[in-house]
């Protein structure tokens, strides 16, 4: 209908655009996937193929999970026009409390010990989130200030728990949550998980489609639905194959999907659902788009803000569990500077610092891209100082890219 007067674009390009439109694929998301693929291929070349070995991808997945989990919460925080600078410190503090309770306070080896410490850790995270959220929501202190205070307070708190002493070792069962040698679910369960995930993808697509048909809305062509399903299925099967290809030391027993990655997947599914199909999620986005309009629409902006910070606190608690399990200890430096990686992951993943825009899936891609660069550079022997320089540059370029993308779309 609206052919540009300067002649039609080349046919190929037009077909691609049409395909993306029918498939309702977010072009920004697609661009990120392309970036990720390019980064992986590049790093693979630069590391002579070490990067894309099953062993390294397994480690990459485990490394990405801690930042990824916290980044899903940071998306909500930033979408609602706030910021949380305290996540690294909160993670360190809750981690120290968990470790201290498990090792120094509770009966060692008791079956109830580690589950109790996890529950208390998550409750502590929630309480810290409620505390910070209260100041932001009900006392109108800018989140930047409150969480900057939190950054200092909880880093100090992490030290005070044991006066700086590292606590170890953790309960052997608890350690599985960190994804160590036995911290994965093995080949069979990995396949069960993968097939269940594929079934779920199919079910969701079918339900979505039948609901749209019932309302008489336009739907995607069947072949597009099938194509999308096929892409998902291939990705899931590929993921399981890779995780199963990495074996335990001195054996050929496949490891399968590591537990922290399962936790990450659960968090991502949960947070995506919260942000997309609950009223709370809708309100978070509305507040980011126009806080005054949200208020005039009868949304309890204060309560919603408080809840955002509570969720962020709980996610810090989950990240603390994985970190202490993986370290097999509690050390007060845990999570140092993690706030920067978490915010960067959200921002690289397309969360707009102006608020109102962002996606959980994007933040995970952001976390994986960042962690891939970090991991790849370690493999290449790049010094940690140089890695910081490069990651910093990547952050700036990512935001620049995002703003260019938005300008061109208009």
């Amino acid at each position: 209908m609206t052919e540009p007067s300067g002649g039609a674009p080349p046919k190929i390009q037009r077909d691609w655009a049409a395909l993306l439109r029918v498939a309702e694929i977010d072009t920004r998301m697609l661009a990120m996937v392309v970036v990720l693929v390019v980064v992986w291929l590049g790093l693979n070349l630069l590391t002579d193929g070490i990067f894309m070995t099953a062993r390294n991808l397994y480690n990459l997945a485990v490394q990405s999970s801690v930042v990824g989990i916290m980044a899903t919460g940071m998306v909500l925080v930033i979408v609602a026009r706030h910021i949380d600078l305290s996540v690294g410190s909160v993670m360190g503090f809750t981690g120290m409390v968990i470790a201290w309770l498990q090792v120094d306070v509770f009966t060692l080896g008791a079956a109830w010990n580690w589950p109790t410490t996890i529950l208390l850790g998550l409750a502590l995270g929630a309480a810290i989130g409620a505390f910070q959220g209260y100041w932001v929501a009900y006392r109108a202190i800018p989140a930047f200030v409150v969480t900057l205070g939190g950054l200092l307070m909880f880093r100090g708190g992490a030290f005070l728990v044991t006066d700086g002493r590292t606590v170890a070792p953790m309960d052997p069962t608890y350690q599985l949550l960190g994804g160590g040698i036995n911290g994965s679910i093995g080949a069979t369960w990995s396949w069960v998980f993968g097939l269940a995930a594929i079934a779920l993808v199919a079910f969701m697509a079918w339900r979505n489609r039948s609901s749209r048909l019932r309302h008489g809305f336009p739907t995607k062509p069947v072949w597009v639905e099938l194509l999308l399903f096929a892409v998902w299925a291939v990705l899931i099967v590929g993921f399981v194959l890779v995780m199963n290809a990495y074996t335990k030391p001195r054996s050929d027993i496949p490891r399968g999907i590591p537990v922290p990655v399962l936790i990450l997947i659960a968090v991502v599914v949960g947070m995506s659902l919260i942000s997309r199909i609950t009223r709370f999620g809708r309100y978070v986005f509305a507040m980011g788009g126009n806080p005054r309009a949200a208020e005039l629409s009868g949304i309890d902006v204060k309560k919603t803000t408080l809840l955002i910070f509570v969720i962020m606190g709980i996610l810090c608690g989950i990240a603390a569990v994985i970190t202490t399990a993986r370290l097999n200890a509690g050390a007060n430096s845990m999570g140092m500077l993690a706030e920067l990686s978490v915010i960067a992951a959200a921002v690289i993943g397309g969360t707009s610092l102006a608020g109102g825009v962002g996606s959980i899936a994007g933040a995970i891609l952001g976390a994986v891209i960042m962690q891939s660069l970090e991991n790849g550079m370690v493999l290449m022997g790049v010094s940690s100082a140089m890695r910081q320089v490069i990651i910093g540059l990547v952050l700036i370029i990512a935001v620049w890219f995002d703003s260019m993308y938005k300008k061109n779309r208009r």
């Binding site: 609901s211 749209r212 019932r214 309302h215 008489g216 809305f217 659902l273 997309r276 199909i277 609950t278 009223r279 809708r282 986005f285 509305a286 507040m287 980011g288 788009g289 126009n290 005054r292 309009a293 949200a294 208020e295 005039l296 629409s297 009868g298 949304i299 309890d300 109102g356 825009v357």
Partner: protein, 255 residues
Amino acid sequence: MTEAPLVEIRNIHKRFGGVHAVKDVSIDLHPGEVVGVLGHNGAGKSVLMSMLSGALPADSGEILVRGERARIDNPRDARRYGIETIYQTLALADNLNAPANLFLGRELRTRWGTLDDDSMEAEARKVFHRLNPNFTNINDPVINMSGGQRQVVAIGRAIYFNACILIMDEPTAALGPSETAMVADLTKQLRAEGIGIFLISHDMHDVFDLCDRVMVMKNGESVGIHPIAEVTKDDVLSLIILGQLPEGWTPRNGG
């Protein structure tokens, strides 16, 4: 009219620092009545209405709804009294699409308690179609919509939820002629259904076409409340500009 008015605002005040934005204003509104609120820019029309819609707290004075004192501390309270508002600023969340804005704060939900976006889209299509049959891109974020389309979203939001009291703050400022006519028809239809409407407008033609009474404000004060039949356009203009009726005024309809 013997029954209690739908709304009665009594001696209401609002100050912003040194600015006395609304000064001792009293006005009532009956079911099936359209009251025009007129005045120059900055006269205090929007602030007056914001106190009724819960967007701003009043400094003093009281509001009665159906004869009873109402506590309106926030927009949720106002909605509970059946007060719906089309804000001059539209008050839309720019990043959300039209159905999400239509139902913001009152989402339709499935039996699982989750958002029922498909039902909301279906309802939204009906509402918007009634106001503007050409409005089809409702799933775009409203920031990408034209001024008129955004206004249609704001109007749809106020009329969808069976209001008893409707506040329209310059509802047609961005609309084209046919959409404006549609809103005029809609206003008449709502009035016939017994809804009380406060209409803020600078368009004399609309005011005389739709209103039963007019109140004119100047510098925060009410300078006159008249049945529309007793004044002419010149009388109203004189009230708006000079704050008083022309010298030697007699009611147009002979009183």
